[in-house]
């Protein structure tokens, strides 16, 4: 509860500070202070200290898993602000509003990680989506940004409609909005099955699973790169938090019927994401497709639905956010976002190149990086179920494909000749990136450091 209320208040504070403060650089610091506060109270809630006592009528339920997800989302936002706060200021004239929107998104994240009621799911997803539509369009004079924003909005509205229809059907058959349905009998009625399917499709839209992923590359490409970085990390993992809660409490009991559906979606997602990413010229688009592919891997947690999977999803979210934010922080500053643009980066910026390499290795899932254990947990979760071994084999073959495009960046940086005009960066930026790399390696050697906080 702490997170939801405080982040909403902080959003409003941020908005008003835009009226009273005219120093652009101040907003970033206010946002950082706000995020630190948010992180603090969220951790406090994790240990049982509540600031507010609100009767949610059982529509929200706060538990360890959701709170950990909040911590990751807030920490990722904090890291994002520290790394790329300067670049947020460059997007347009409304820096305070951008940060306000980001706080509202965090409010939505707080809701979708703890809902037990379908109405709350709907509200949470909308609170996340609407600021995201606006952030996509913040580069007002850029046609691509406008197009992306409109596209995102139309697609998002469409999927929201589908979600509402699904919820309606479920309400119609069960007479309740609660996610968990007591005394379910099998086989379920067609209407209920239809409702569940529509809900599944709409959430697949939100986390961009194939075949509902077509908006992702265009939106990620068109949005200002700073906000792409935010959407590809925080917004995406929030979608997964919502998804796993839903599937766990509703679909989980249905067993093999949903397994097949999820398996098909996973294969399609991995295939589309990875194979299309191979052919990209722009690193930003490649990362958009790679985020689809990574979503395919995260789906394994939803497929397996065991403790290994849940623990893995937390680790995966953390590893994915760290690596993606690190890469984007450098990419934002690049003049030329194509693969050729990275040629020879190791000569002019050896430190940044090394950090980028570690981030890319982590995304590819090479041992000694956090990404390896993230993938490991996902695969282990499925192998533990004892079925669908072929799915795991397909997944690792696609993971090998993913190495292909991640290493293309490494090749460009280290083995190709070229001149990069990289803007001067502050020492703090460098230290932060080194810290990111250090955490990635630390989690890659001792993944327990993160997961020992969890006992489900």
């Amino acid at each position: 509860m702490n997170t939801i209320i405080v982040s909403a208040i902080l959003g409003v504070v941020m908005m008003f500070s835009g009226i009273f403060i005219h120093n652009k650089a101040a907003f970033k610091n206010i946002a950082i202070a706000g995020l630190l506060l948010l992180l603090g109270i969220n951790i406090a809630e994790n240990y049982g200290y509540l600031l507010f006592k609100v009767d949610t009528k059982g529509m929200l339920h706060f538990e360890r898993f959701g709170l950990l997800f909040n911590i990751i989302a807030i920490a990722a936002t904090l890291l994002f602000t520290l790394l790329s706060g300067r670049d947020v200021e460059k997007v347009g004239n409304y820096t305070a509003e951008y940060f306000a929107l980001i706080f509202f998104i965090l409010c939505g994240v707080g809701i979708v990680t703890s809902y037990t009621n379908l109405m709350m799911l709907f509200i949470g997803i909308e609170i996340i989506s609407i600021p995201a539509y606006i952030l996509t369009g913040t580069d007002k004079r850029n046609l691509k940004s406008n197009e992306a924003s409109l596209k995102y909005f139309l697609m998002g509205a469409f999927s929201t409609g589908i979600m509402l229809m699904g919820i309606t059907l479920l309400y119609g058959t069960n007479g309740t909005f609660m996610v968990e349905r007591a005394g379910a009998t099998f086989p379920i009625s067609y209407l209920e099955a239809m409702g569940l399917l529509l809900l599944f499709i709409s959430l697949s839209f939100k986390v961009s699973l194939a075949p509902f992923h077509f908006w992702t590359p265009d939106v990620y490409d068109g949005a200002p790169t700073v906000f792409t970085s935010f959407m590809a990390t925080v917004v995406k993992i929030a979608g997964f938090a919502a998804f796993i809660r839903l599937i766990e409490s509703r679909y989980g009991s249905m067993g093999s019927q949903t397994d097949r559906l999820v398996a098909i979606v996973i294969i399609l997602t991995l295939a589309f994401g990875n194979l299309t990413a191979v052919f990209q010229q722009s690193v930003k688009r490649m990362l958009a497709y790679s985020s689809i592919a990574q979503a395919g891997f995260m789906m394994f947690a939803l497929f397996a639905l065991n403790d290994t999977g849940k623990e893995g999803l937390i680790l995966y979210a953390a590893a994915y956010c760290l690596a993606t934010l690190g890469i984007f922080a450098v990419l934002i500053k690049m003049e030329d976002g194509t693969f050729e643009g990275f040629n020879g980066l190791s000569k002019s910026q050896p430190l940044l190149a090394a950090v980028l390499t570690i981030c890319l290795l982590s995304l590819a899932g090479i041992p000694l990086t956090a990404g390896f254990f993230a993938k490991y947990y996902m695969l282990a979760a499925v192998v533990k179920t004892g079925h669908y071994l072929w799915l795991v084999v397909i997944a690792v073959l696609f993971a090998a494909v993913s190495a292909y495009y991640y290493f293309k960046v490494i090749q460009a940086m280290y083995f190709k000749e070229g001149e990069v005009n990289f803007p001067p960066v502050t020492a703090r930026f460098k230290y932060l990136l080194v810290a990111v790399a250090a955490v990635i390696i630390l989690l890659g050697v001792f993944p327990n450091a993160l997961s020992q906080f969890m006992y489900f």
Partner: protein, 479 residues
């Protein structure tokens, strides 16, 4: 404690090397580091079995059931010794070579040594996987950065190939893990499983493909000649001298004892593809016009024999494989050193542009001829005894297969002698006329190798003693 030091010393030395800006210091430092590793390995080899010094066990990730368990047994001893011998010799022989950013080059070399040591020492399957990948990454950077013209594309193929294999292996390892009664990766747990035959087959193929790509066995060998040709020679020595032994070693440690029934069932398939690979690679080697490619194909042929002998279900053959892993490592490094000398001095590797080098560099010629004879496994050279044992075992398995495999001995003699003739005898050709005798340190390294070749050729008993108890154990598992 010794196993930990064997991993830690190269690792720490390697990390420090990155920060040494001066070329000479970096070279000297990495050479010193590798010599220290060699001394530790020698202590390890001479330490009696059962000593506490040879094992180390620490908690790593308890929730996953994996521990940091390392240990030296006979097979581990012989391969860590090979790794430890190889690196000082490689550093010494290529001491004159100039590299751009030498600190990164030597640092990565030592990191790959640490990875290799880890592979040979791990007694926990997830730890093994960790080091397996850890050894690969530095080599990827070494080949792509310091290699020949086509290095990027070639190394790329190599990397994707082996990475895909490793991931398949990961699936196999995970599956094994879920089948162990105590949910652990420890060697004792995975060696004592009783699995159904379909489970065994699944695990067999996931692991075998990974190992086969690394060795490489036909038809997974296509990355190898290009990579050997394009890599800087020092790295090629690591690759063919030590790294391919990872695959052979992995089969002996993590495949045959883990899935014995599937291994026996698939033995015919593996032996037949290995023999096809041997003959095929030998025939291609005869046709080569490039020293590096010839040695690369010859290496495929030799590995093919090892892979066939491993599956012959015979203790003699298995013993032969262990000896041959060491001998082949020594011999092939010697051949690469000469190839490197020729390339550095004369600027060409083509036989068509070489000839009569013996008149200009007689000492080099003698040393090279000894290494080459060892490559054909002539009696009194180190590989004779290993190859003899392997063929002996293959004959007991199936004499038709052994007979066909035997053709490769003749073919090996054909291409090796042909190579000597083309390079060292005949008229002095244009490129060779300016040749000089090799530098003292290269000569010294070659002399050390030749001494090893002859000593272990005449008296292989110490090597056999080291690995004495492994083959019987492996074969007993297969029964």
């Amino acid at each position: 404690m010794i196993p930990v030091l064997l991993i830690l010393v190269p690792l720490v030395c390697g990390l420090i090397t990155f920060f040494i800006k001066e070329e000479k210091t970096a070279k000297l430092w990495s050479l010193t580091g590798s010599v220290i590793t060699l001394l530790i390995a020698l202590i390890g080899v001479t330490t009696m079995k059962g000593s506490n010094l040879l094992t180390y066990d620490a908690s790593w990730i308890p929730t996953l059931g994996t521990r940091f368990t390392v240990g030296l047994d006979g097979m581990g001893k012989i391969l860590t010794l090979l790794t430890a011998v190889a690196f000082p010799i490689i550093f010494g022989a290529t001491y004159q070579n100039k590299y751009a950013s030498p600190n990164a080059f030597y640092g990565l070399m030592l990191l790959s040594q640490a990875g290799l040591m880890g592979v040979f020492l791990s007694m926990d399957m997830l730890l093994f996987y960790f080091f397996w990948e850890f050894a690969l990454i530095p080599v990827y950077f070494l080949c792509s950065k310091w290699g020949g013209e086509k290095r990027i594309a070639v190394t790329w193929k190599f990397f994707i190939y082996t990475f895909a294999g490793s991931l398949l292996m990961l699936v196999g390892i995970l599956y094994l893990y879920t089948l162990t009664p105590d949910q652990s990766f420890a060697i004792a747990s995975v060696h004592n499983l009783s699995l159904t035959s379909s489970q065994e087959l699944f695990i067999f193929w996931t692991l075998f493909i990974a190992f086969a790509i690394k060795m490489p066995v036909f038809p997974f060998h296509t990355w190898q000649p290009d990579t050997y040709e394009q890599s800087p020679t020092a790295v090629t020595m690591v690759l063919s001298g030590v790294m391919v032994k990872m695959g052979v070693f992995a089969v002996l440690r993590w495949l045959l004892p883990v899935v014995p029934n599937a291994s026996l069932r698939m033995a015919d398939v593996v032996i037949i593809i290995s023999i096809i690979g041997m003959i095929y690679a030998s025939l291609i080697a005869i046709k080569q016009d490039d020293i590096k490619r010839l040695i690369a194909y010859s290496s495929i042929a030799h590995i093919g024999l090892m892979s066939a002998a491993m599956f012959a279900n015979n203790a003699t053959a298995t013993q032969g494989v262990m000896l041959q892993m060491f001998s082949h490592g020594i011999n092939v490094i010697g051949l690469w050193i000469v190839a490197d000398v020729i390339e550095q001095q004369l600027g060409t590797r083509k036989f068509s542009e070489l000839g009569g080098l013996a008149q200009k560099a007689p000492a080099l010629a003698i040393l090279f001829v000894v290494m080459s004879l060892a490559n054909i496994a002539l009696p009194l050279t180190n590989s004779f005894i290993g190859e003899f044992m392997m063929f002996n075992g293959l004959f007991q398995y199936n004499y038709w297969m052994a007979g066909i495999a035997g053709i490769s001995i003749i073919l090996a003699a054909v291409y090796t002698l042909w190579m000597i003739q083309k390079i060292f005898y005949g008229e002095v050709r244009g490129a060779v006329s300016g040749a000089m005798e090799v530098t003292t340190n290269t000569k010294l390294m070659l002399v050390i190798l030749v001494v090893l070749v002859v000593v272990f050729g005449v008296y292989p008993k110490p090597l056999i003693n080291i690995t004495n108890d492994n083959p019987a154990k492996i074969v007993a598992q297969l029964k």
